[in-house]
């Protein structure tokens, strides 16, 4: 890392925000969480364990508010698929609420638009 007194020559000395998952509401088989920050190949394992902590056994319907998710890459999408597959086996569903335009575009490119669709499940 660049020493604190010396500015990073590339102007990147602000720490990376990472990803934060917080439970909002748990009601029997229903859980609502929010995910904020940047979800990528470096932060996906942290997001996975935070999700596991927030979604207790027995939960079938999961809603994640992603309004403040500033970035998501292919590995982030992979985490949503992982979670969706687990929910679907329940059987249950996963719905991503309030996606940015960027996330909507990304999910459309990989044919997963249904994760942000009206019903939240295929």
């Amino acid at each position: 890392m660049t020493a604190a007194s010396e500015p990073d020559p590339l102007g990147l000395d602000v720490p990376a925000p990472g990803v934060v998952v917080r439970p909002r509401r748990v009601d029997g088989e229903f859980a609502e969480l929010e995910m904020r920050g940047e979800l990528d190949a470096s932060t996906v394992s942290s997001a996975r364990s935070q999700l596991a902590a927030g979604i207790k056994p027995g939960v079938r319907e999961v809603v994640i508010d992603v309004a403040d998710l500033e970035f998501c890459d292919a590995r982030g999408v992979g985490l949503f698929v992982e979670l969706q597959e687990r929910c679907a086996a329940g059987p249950g569903s996963l719905h991503l609420r309030a996606p940015s335009r960027a996330l909507q575009r990304l999910l459309a490119i990989v044919d997963l638009g249904y994760l942000v669709g009206e019903n939240g499940s295929k």
Binding site: L10, E38, D40, A41, G78, V81, L106, I109, V110
Partner: protein
């Protein structure tokens, strides 16, 4: 006439069609289409919109069973053409006796960079459909308008040729090497004034994105294009972290029309169709290069056992 006696209709037949006049093109292409329709085959035509119009006119109301697609849109990034054919094949593999296509990814006016990727695309077609249902793909080449070297290259990527109505095997056919399908011709190094960042344990992907966003913004990309460019560079960098030995260099630069991003690492991409097969909605991985191909104008993948370089291009 395109009715060879020795056609193997049990397999993939990848044939270059050399033509010199527009009338020859329309005659041969419409005969090929009609023969397919008469035999109950599924037919798809991916050529320029101007040529689609001419073929429709000549088919004179008998083009209902033909699926047309504008190659200048789908083939802008040639890596998106194989997925379009795969979609067509998958859709009709069960309901048609066989499949037929006309695909013209190469035309006079393609830039050298586009041409290189089109030629790699033509070569990879031989792998992409070798185990599929019977599929006859005819690739028109404007022999009068294209350089001789481009025609010679076509003969290296097509096992079959037809010119002047005569079918023959290409004597110079050079099948892709399954052990190093992306070897290609090496890319020239990035220019000396390219901005560079190294990804390792001290630089996160978030750093790569901020670095890329700054350069893309300076290049004057629209906010949507800037976002796409950042997404693409991030995907390559993430691939390097996961599959490329954990370290990579990222170079970014511009010329008057284009912004370039290049990621180099020590990995080797051996899947010939990497980034060219639509990811399953159930798979956890395998989406990085697909996304990159979808958002970029051109993606050059050069990979050998000693390392990989992937160069992205996006118009400014």
């Amino acid at each position: 006439m395109l009715r060879p006696d020795d056609v193997d209709r049990q397999a993939f037949r990848h044939e270059a069609f050399l033509y010199s006049r527009a009338s020859e093109y329309v005659d041969q292409a419409t005969t090929f289409i009609r023969d397919g329709l008469d035999a109950g085959e599924a037919v798809m035509v991916m050529v320029s919109s101007a040529k689609i119009e001419r073929l429709r006119e000549r088919l004179n109301g008998h083009s209902d069973g033909v699926r047309f697609a504008d190659m200048s849109l789908i083939g802008r990034n040639p890596a998106r053409i194989i997925p379009a054919w795969q979609h067509f094949v998958a859709r009709h593999a069960d309901d048609a006796s066989a499949l037929r296509g006309i695909g013209e990814p190469i035309w006079p006016g393609r830039s050298a960079a586009e041409l290189a990727e089109c030629q790699i695309h033509e070569s990879l077609l031989n792998i992409a459909f070798q185990d599929g249902p019977p599929f006859w793909l005819l690739c028109p080449y404007d022999a009068a308008g294209l350089d001789d070297e481009v025609v010679a290259e076509a003969m290296r990527h097509h096992p079959h040729m037809v010119a002047g109505g005569v079918h023959h095997h290409s004597a110079t056919y050079d099948p892709p090497d399954p052990a190093a399908p992306h070897a290609g011709r090496p890319l020239p190094p990035p220019p000396p004034d390219a901005e560079a960042i190294t990804i390792d344990s001290t630089r996160s992907l978030a750093d790569v994105r901020r670095f890329t966003r700054r350069l893309a913004s300076q290049a004057g990309l629209s906010s949507d294009r800037e976002r796409d460019f950042v997404v693409a560079v991030n995907e390559l960098a993430a691939n390097s972290l996961l599959h490329g030995g954990g370290a990579a260099s990222v170079h970014l630069w511009c010329d008057s029309t284009t912004i370039f991003g290049e990621v180099r690492d020590r990995g080797h991409i051996t899947d010939p169709l990497a980034g060219r097969v639509a990811p399953s909605p159930h798979s956890i991985g395998g989406r990085g290069l697909w996304i990159t191909n979808e958002v970029c104008d051109l993606v050059h993948i050069r990979s050998t056992p000693t390392g990989t370089a992937i160069r992205l291009r996006m118009a400014r």
